[in-house]
Symmetry: C2
Subunit: 194 residues, 2 copies
Amino acid sequence: MGRRPSETLFMSLKHAILVLLEQEDSSGYDLLKRFKEHLGFFRQASHQQLYKQLGQMHDAGLIDCQLAEQSGKPDKKIYSISPAGYQCLIDWMNSQSKPQKVNDSLLVKLYGGHVVAPEILLAEIQHSREQHEKTLMLLQTMEQNYLSLSAQAKEKYALPYLTLRRGILGEQAWLSWADEVESYLQILTKKNGA
Amino acid sequence: MGRRPSETLFMSLKHAILVLLEQEDSSGYDLLKRFKEHLGFFRQASHQQLYKQLGQMHDAGLIDCQLAEQSGKPDKKIYSISPAGYQCLIDWMNSQSKPQKVNDSLLVKLYGGHVVAPEILLAEIQHSREQHEKTLMLLQTMEQNYLSLSAQAKEKYALPYLTLRRGILGEQAWLSWADEVESYLQILTKKNGA
DNA sequence: CTCTCCATGTAACTGGTTACATGATTGG
DNA sequence: CCAATCATGTAACCAGTTACATGGAGAG
């Protein structure tokens, strides 16, 4: 009571944690794995950040915690969503999200790229392309998994699947763009060489 | 001398400023306008952040500053890139960018959206769609401008144009995805209603 | 008289990263 | 013996946001 937990309304790590805990109680450690597996494409968190946030949310009464002693392994704290946390989740769901911010240093580089040789830019793009290709393949594997599920399971995971589709369409668009950039830079490289 | 300005190597607001100042000397105020006009899609900055950063970069010797007195208007500080700043820009160009981070709360919402009625999600998506449609139209107008330039001017602005293409392809992909999401949510809405 | 444009900043705070720290168990 | 996995955190710092602050000029 008393201390109001400064309502910034859009600090979304808190909400991401609530989403995951609503699905299943977890320790900080497990939560981190779930982040990487399921939300990794569009929302990451380091373990330090996560543990800090869990502590704050526990103080604020949004989550409950119970200690699980284990033999042979370190003890762990199992967190679960509290009624107040559930309400916070629903409120957030009903509020409007801020438009997503992009902060893409590769684009800044390309924008001012005339100060270096086109080969430099080309190398950078090609390196990024490899990462995006890897990501796309991973997402497509996940898509195949989803598509092979039963109709019932498909229904259950339909919303997560739609987020997966975002990843796939996004990566494909990125790669199409990279094609454009690479072909331009290659022309430029040849012209300078000749 | 002495104080080394803690080399995080990827703090890219600094580099974005160098990119802009390399093109043209500017005051903080003008720089902000140029940010919004030219880099706004993939790199934003508030005036507070910008002035602070300019101060730090001046202290670090990356940019020079001269006071321009004006009559009828407030004085302004015209910043220009220094040799050290130019070197910093070149070094950054030659270094590898970190993969871009996405932090999209809309996707987190959708991922855990089963806790609210599909209508809520639909409204949110449709609101976002409007923003993305506006952005796309703006970018396409900019593209038309570019395409109507002379061959010479086209060559000059080729790299900025490629960043514009990224915006266009990205927005189109987003809208295709929104189509998928909306049609799924509409089916869901009808099923629940029936 | 109010609003927008010009032009500059400070201070407090939140969110996120990097570095540092500990320690047992299991598999190669 | 070494590395990875399990499991938790603290402290310092960097990046970005929000709130607060000032003040003249010109347009409606």
